[in-house]
């Protein structure tokens, strides 16, 4: 009895340590420990996150008031630059849509199924785990908002991580630089696949790439879709260092595109759809429409024009896709670039075919022209294009190739 009293403190220490080690062993033994310790975690999260929410709200509100009502210096210049950027991107979009359409057509031929993000939810990062060993953050959306474990979390720059645990009003997001994370990744050019994992020092490494492969520094790393969490093709980061690794694999270091140490707002991918790739039925019309929409004084739709599915579109492009011939002969293969004048001519021929309501061989022949029209018109200066798209049915008929 005297011994027990004398070593009471030590006995209690051993007892407490034993209990914790036992609890730890039970959690490690179980494959899913989320349920066994869920109550403790919910209590801890509920004790800490409300204050974090309040602070983030105060911070955001203050910043919003300051930036939206007081600190407006340089806004005009920024607005001007953004408008110019939109102009450039519209033209770029025209070009890209042609490439995308071609890719979709090829995928359709191969019966590919593509995944795409159909629904996302914006969330604010309100806190971290507070440990260097656990690279994870808390967001202000949880089960009540439809968040579930294993949902992908991304930003505009690149992927961030996945939802590990969803609590009623918050969620724990495991970042891609945590050593327990794993993302299926593919190198953009060499198409080599590997597994993206975090290291103990918080870096990101691409593993399982054979050492006899050549991987240049600077190559982009994308998601491969193989993990079933991230859809294929999302930007992960860029290769920064390649060296000889252990065993037969390369040691590839990747710098994440998203700044994981300064996350403020993220998108949770709440729905990913899978569908068979189909050629875009409105690709060519969209290309012309974008250009036509930017032109001043484009005349309204002619009375006799076919009723298509693109409201407000300029007649030539619209009809070209509305006809079966036009749809068949859409710009599948990227044509060689032609001069601005050529582009204008091509559009004129499209107009001709639409006006004549072609489904004939000549219509098909002319229907191949919109392929050039779509892409080349993008490069054509607006002025000649405007002159061409004016509805002049009579002269246009003369341009039908025989």
């Amino acid at each position: 009895m005297d011994v027990l009293g004398r070593y009471r403190n030590l006995i209690v220490l051993v007892g407490v340590l034993f209990a914790q080690v036992l609890g730890l062993a039970v959690q490690v033994k179980r494959t899913t420990d989320s349920e066994s310790t869920r109550l403790v975690r919910i209590w801890a999260v509920d004790a800490v996150t409300p204050l974090e929410r309040v602070l983030v709200w105060v911070e955001t509100s203050t910043s919003s008031v300051w930036h939206n009502y007081f600190y407006l210096r340089g806004v005009r210049a920024e607005n001007r630059n953004l408008k110019a950027q939109i102009e450039r991107m519209s033209l770029e979009q025209v070009r890209m849509s042609q490439d995308a359409d071609q890719a979709r057509r090829l995928q359709a031929l191969l019966a590919f199924k593509e995944q795409f993000i159909s629904k996302t939810m914006a969330a604010q990062v309100i806190g971290s785990s507070g440990s260097e060993q656990s690279r994870s953050v808390y967001i202000d959306k949880g089960e009540n908002d439809g968040i579930k474990p294993d949902m992908a979390v991304i930003t505009a720059e690149g992927i961030v991580g996945k939802v590990l645990r969803a609590y009623p009003s918050t969620s724990l997001v495991l970042l891609i630089n945590d050593q327990s994370s794993g993302v299926g990744a593919i190198l953009e050019k060499s198409r080599l696949q590997g597994i993206l994992k975090g290291t103990s020092s918080g870096e990101v490494a691409l593993e399982k790439v054979m050492s006899d492969e050549t991987v240049p520094a600077g190559e982009l790393v994308l998601t491969s879709g193989g993990d079933g969490i991230f859809p294929k093709g999302l930007l992960v980061g860029r290769v920064t260092k390649v060296g000889a690794g252990s065993d037969l694999f390369l040691n590839i270091r990747v710098r994440p595109a998203a700044d994981l140490s300064r996350l403020e707002e993220v998108l949770v991918v709440t729905k990913i759809d899978e569908r068979q790739a189909l050629p875009d039925q409105t690709g060519a019309a969209r290309a012309v429409d974008i250009l036509a929409g930017r032109l001043p004084g484009v005349p309204s739709k002619p009375e006799n024009a076919e009723k298509g599915d693109v409201p407000g579109a300029a007649a030539p492009g619209r009809v070209a896709t509305a006809t079966s011939a036009g749809s068949e002969a859409k710009p599948k293969a990227a044509p060689p670039p032609v001069s601005a004048g050529g582009g204008a001519t091509a559009v004129r021929k499209t107009a001709t075919s639409s006006d004549t309501g072609s489904g004939t061989s000549s219509g098909t022949a002319s229907g191949t022209k919109p392929a050039a029209a779509g892409s080349d018109a993008a490069k054509a200066p607006p002025k000649p294009l405007k002159a061409v798209v004016e509805p002049k049915p009579q002269p246009a008929v003369e341009d039908i190739p025989h």
């Binding site: 080690v21 609890g23 730890l24 507070g130 060993q133």
Partner: protein, 172 residues
């Protein structure tokens, strides 16, 4: 000035009010989770550990020290995605050790507090490392320079944290 006590009669024991006992550890865990998002360098600090050491050395009761460390550690564990107990065990050991040492040493001066914090920071990291590798199977890298520098940084912050704790502790 001697830094060791020659008899138990010289030891002054302090206590903390209930609100301070609850709110200070909670605030420490909250700041540890929130500040690294805004000030990235803050992740090098372990504020809950400093509170554990501060409470333990002031109370000078091994039992109170180990239970305080245990609770603070479990709270910290619950915010991570690792199994609960990693920080719990480490801080239990630190809480017990700091309060036991607090009986023997004069921990009222800044120099002693500085050295004590470095020592217990390293103890904490060693225990955490051993459990994480041995029991949980985490792949952790150990670097003495990093741990020593982190210990120095924590000890510097600890000196100020202990000064703040001095203002709320009450003599029994």
């Amino acid at each position: 000035m001697a830094i060791t006590y020659t008899s138990g009669a010289q030891v002054e024991v302090y206590r903390f009010s209930v609100p301070a006992t609850v709110l200070i550890p909670l605030t420490a865990v909250f700041l540890q989770a929130w500040l690294p998002l805004r000030l990235h360098f803050f992740s090098i600090f372990d504020l809950p550990l400093l509170i554990t050491i501060g409470f333990a050395t002031a109370r000078r009761s091994p039992l109170a020290g180990l239970f305080t460390g245990s609770l603070i550690g479990i709270l910290q564990d619950a915010l991570t995605h690792h199994p609960i107990g990693l920080y719990g065990i480490s801080k239990t050991v630190v809480g017990f050790g700091a309060s036991s040492l607090g009986i023997k040493l004069d921990v009222e001066n800044a120099g002693a507090r500085f050295l004590l914090t470095i020592f217990f920071y390293v103890v904490h990291e060693v225990v955490y490392f051993l459990i994480a590798r041995g029991l949980v199977g985490l792949h952790m890298a150990w670097s003495w320079p990093h741990e020593f520098l982190s210990g120095m940084a924590n000890a510097l912050l600890g000196v100020f944290v202990f000064l703040l704790l001095d203002r709320v502790k009450q003599r029994t």
